[in-house]
Symmetry: C2
């Protein structure tokens, strides 16, 4: 059986920005943590909603028609099919919850794109 | 489109213990907040995992073979089918994530059991 997860500590321990790691499983979803700074890339997940929860710092989610600013303890769900660009002016720690079949940057491939195998690494 | 949710503030604003409220939706899951103190009741969810995330205070999850203690920023997923008793010695604020078809106290009905309609109230 799984153990409790200190998600902020797990996010803080990450060495690389924009490289999420799986820390838990909830039915057909994964719980992930990430350390981010700068911007990722515009993308969408056509079949899956994506939950962002800020653990430390601030995250800006640019959407086609507006911008959402999140601080510690705030969450936002990007609905399936909605283009979004995550941006952090300064280092930010996140928890993400999304379906297991969610591709990191949707149909877009960049140098920052991480495979699910990479996100499942335990090193 | 939904707005950002300050989950700790939403949990703190609740008036009744052990009465979760839905604050978001993620595919076939709801995001809920709850304010708890004392103990709920032994129960299980035969078909659904249940994620507990502590926002403030401490939560004890008694399981058949052990006890899990969670503090702020810690999460634990109770696997489907596993009996559990949530206990908080002092007031504790929680975020819960679970499938939309999850019954509050499983097959057990007590005075603390809340319907999904009650959890979806916006007053």
């Amino acid at each position: 059986m799984l153990n409790p997860v200190d998600v902020r500590a797990r996010a803080a321990a990450l060495g690389e920005h924009w490289s999420p790691r799986v820390v838990g499983s909830l039915d057909d979803c994964y719980v992930k943590v990430a350390k981010v700074q700068g911007e990722l890339v515009w993308h969408s997940h056509d079949g899956q909603d994506e939950l962002f929860f800020v653990l430390q710092g601030r995250l800006r989610l640019q959407l086609p028609d507006r911008t959402v600013e999140l601080g510690p303890g705030e969450l936002f769900v990007v609905p399936k099919g909605v283009q979004h660009l995550p941006v952090a002016e300064q280092e930010c720690l996140l928890m993400l919850i999304e379906r297991k079949d969610t591709a990191h940057t949707g149909d877009v491939q960049t140098a920052l794109t991480r495979s699910l195998d990479d996100q499942l690494r335990t090193d």
